[in-house]
């Protein structure tokens, strides 16, 4: 079999740019997504200046925003909408599913590549085009979209800049659909011999459920995007009611549509999207925790079934984002009940991961630190979500900074910490070298501190009733005056968080050349990817395709001569 891979040498271009190798595509996804994360974060660092010191000249970059260097409200709105869009659709999903899913799923299931390598490349290029289309909107006359990442009509039907956003979204949706179909097919079809469903590493399960969510939830948003595009370009009124008055003037539209239709279609995607953001991170964290606690994951079966249940439930909770739309108490009662039910599997997953730590001799290396920090941070994010899921409490808290604090705890110190854990953990597999531990800790501790510095005060502001998306951070509102001073604290935390990422960026590039050289399995892990060479062989991954004989996390089992037993190690014949 191995004589197959002494194929002709590929050109540089074919090998690294137009590659169909899932590892190269994964790395392309990874770097592009990290770049977009940085862009999205930079937008927010600019916005935080305006929130901390309203209407003063922005240092360093002020001249971009005009002669007086002040962030005007319409630009603030653009930056806010694009921050959300970039972070979710161009940053985290491509990093979690595109990069990690692409690179690791075939390795963890012992496959030579994804099931459809060309489709995989198409998915990446569609993502890149979508990203470039999105970014290009900043340079058009009208500017970038301003209607928030949720793009609620009628505002989004009327406001400038939205058309390019919609076109960009259609590319991104296409990319996600192609990618997720590929991941599902790969997991179902290409599992190595002996790798039964309940022997899959939990990360693979997380990717499988995530991909199903993407396949089934994204198309309704695509439908909604098509309808909004029709509204904007052809003049239909899918989302515009009759008699719509904007800015005191009666709109000349055919009317008859409903803004609620958009909200239903949008949240039918965007609630599962939340689990798309969190599940891959949970998968990564599970792998890292199992490895560094040197114990089997506690309750593997319940983790798997909780994840599947979570996937199902996530399709019937969407309208808890719409309690304020006046859709009626019966609907609210239904959706708040399903929302309470969906918190159960999340709690099961989190509890299982916590219990896995019980009595373990934990190795506190950088990936493990990030994974450990994920647990309480995601816990805070999850628990603060419960009041939002209850219709009565949501009426007060809706669209306040409390909501911002809640979902940022889930996504920023939650998902992003999980992704960082994954980068530190699998870096040796990708490069053959470890990332520097000192720089890693210099990255972790300030990040943890400043993440909380940014998002914890948001709960305080939100409970005081400060609305989100305010250009001046609430300066003009009497009820915000008592908590306005937190803005400066949060902004300084945000800028310091930006500084704290410098060790990470340095570490990624430094370690490619100077990192400590390690063997194929530096973390003494059990799963299949560690039985491949580091980096895995182009197009084939493994020298010989592995066969699986055991469960994924056989750590510290009594009576073995090592504290881990790889999945590919045959059982001894008795």
């Amino acid at each position: 079999m191995s004589n197959d891979h002494n194929h002709h040498e590929e050109s540089f271009f074919r090998k690294y740019i137009w590659s169909t190798d899932h590892k190269i595509i994964g790395i392309q996804y990874g770097f592009t997504a990290l770049f977009f994360l940085l862009v999205g974060f930079s937008l927010m660092m600019v916005m935080r200046w305006q929130l901390a010191y309203p209407e003063t000249r922005i240092p360093f970059v002020g001249s971009i925003f005009g002669d007086d260097g002040i962030l005007l409200p319409e630009i603030y709105n653009s930056l806010g909408a694009m921050h959300g869009t970039i972070m979710i659709f161009l940053g985290i999903v491509p990093l979690a599913v595109g990069a990690f899913g692409n690179y690791l799923v075939p390795l963890q299931i012992g496959a030579p590549d994804m099931a459809f390598p060309k489709l995989n490349a198409a998915s990446y290029w569609s993502y890149l085009v979508g990203g470039l289309v999105m970014m290009s909107s900043f340079f058009t006359e009208e500017g970038a979209a301003r209607s928030g990442w949720t793009s609620y009509p009628p505002l989004a039907d009327i406001e400038v800049g939205q058309t390019i956003w919609l076109i960009g979204m259609i590319f991104l949706i296409t990319s996600s659909l192609l990618g997720s179909m590929n991941i599902i097919t790969t997991i179902v079809q290409l599992r190595a011999p002996g790798l039964t469903w309940m022997r899959l590493p939990f990360f693979v399960w997380a990717q499988l459920v995530t991909s199903f969510l993407l396949v089934l939830a994204f198309p309704p948003l695509e439908a909604a995007a098509v309808l909004q595009l029709m509204d904007r370009v052809v003049g239909t009124s899918f989302f515009l009611p009759s008699g719509l008055v904007v800015s005191g003037e009666l709109m000349e539209v055919s009317g008859g549509g409903s803004p609620l239709l958009w909200q239903h279609l949008f949240w039918f995607l965007a609630h599962p999207e939340v689990y798309v953001l969190i599940l891959p991170a949970m998968g990564i964290v599970s792998e890292v925790i199992a490895n560094n606690s040197r114990k089997p994951l506690w309750g593997y079966n319940s983790l798997v079934f909780a994840t599947i249940f979570l996937g199902f439930m996530s399709f019937i909770v969407w309208a808890h984002h719409m309690f304020l739309t006046g859709m009626g108490t019966a609907m609210s009662a239904f959706f708040q009940t399903t929302t309470m039910i969906i918190s159960i599997p999340s709690v099961i997953i989190l509890s299982a991961l916590f219990i896995s730590l019980w009595g373990a001799s934990i190795r506190f290396n950088t990936p493990m630190l990030f994974a450990l920090a994920f647990l309480p941070m995601f816990g805070i994010g999850g628990l603060t979500g419960l009041p939002l899921g209850l219709a009565a409490a949501d009426i007060y808290l809706h669209d306040t900074y409390y909501v911002i604090g809640h979902f940022h705890y889930v996504v920023a110190p939650g998902t992003i910490f999980g992704l960082f854990a994954g980068i530190y953990y699998w870096y040796p597999k990708i490069t053959g070298r470890k990332m520097n531990e000192s720089l890693g800790k210099l990255h972790f501790w300030p990040s943890l501190l400043f993440m909380n510095g940014i998002f914890m005060p948001m709960f305080i502001q939100g409970l005081a009733g400060v609305s989100r998306r305010l250009w001046d951070g609430g300066l003009e509102y009497a009820h915000a005056s008592g908590v306005f001073h937190w803005n400066e604290f949060m902004s300084i935390s945000a800028w310091l968080l930006g500084l704290a990422q410098i060790p990470f960026i340095l570490n990624v590039f430094y370690s490619i050349f100077r990192g400590e050289k390690v063997d194929n399995n530096p973390w003494e892990s059990t799963t299949l990817e560690w039985s491949a060479p580091s980096p895995p062989l182009p197009h084939v991954n493994f020298e010989t395709l592995p066969t699986v004989y055991r469960d994924p996390y056989e750590y510290s089992l009594p009576g073995r001569n090592r504290d881990f037993t790889p999945q590919s190690e045959p059982k001894k014949n008795k």
Binding site: E55, S247, G248, D472, E476
Partner: protein, 237 residues
Amino acid sequence: MKIRIIGTLIIMVLIGVGYAADVKGKITFDGKAPKMKPLRMDADPVCVANSDIKPRKEWLILDENNSIKNVLVFVKESKSGSLADSYDTPKESAVIDQKGCVYVPHVLGIMVGQTLDILNSDGTLHNIHALPKVNKEFNKAMPRSKKQMSVKFDKVEAPFKVKCDVHPWMGAYLGVFDHPYFAVTDDSGAYTISGLPAGKYVIEAWHEKLGTQTADITVDDSGASQDFLFKKPSKKK
């Protein structure tokens, strides 16, 4: 032959210049002046603080003789072809200020391509939302730190509304012309369109609530005079 043509041309120009004259008039309101309510600006304390006079609603401003302020009078068409094909865009900009949370002036004419300076003398957030049908709509925020911005209009357009979405009572009207022959009535309801070449014209008087009226006038070297009388708006709408 050549000299004669040039000579004729010179004479024609001289006559033209000599005959350019002013159109004057006064615009009055027919009937009992409606009782105007004062503007309530307490939604924004800055507005109250900035307003030195007690502000009142602006849709009809009369003096003691029932003369109407803020009527835009302009040459609608030339019946004798004495308007030029194009006129130079004025170098100086037209100015509209946001002061005491009202627009000053309330009605303004501007030429195509002329710069309109929008000032914010209030220490509060305004947004200037122009609602033209022909020109490009714009909606720009002017926070207190943004003291001035400039815009231009590139198409002729009948008066359209300009408003502030922060302070819903704020409104102004802007007409865009391709010639300089327009004027707005002052406190005493008087207007002067100056420098109009001799000829026959249709002029129009436009008021935001009372509608429009047109009149045929003939301008000779002594100018012309045309008054308008507006009636109370009918109850419909």
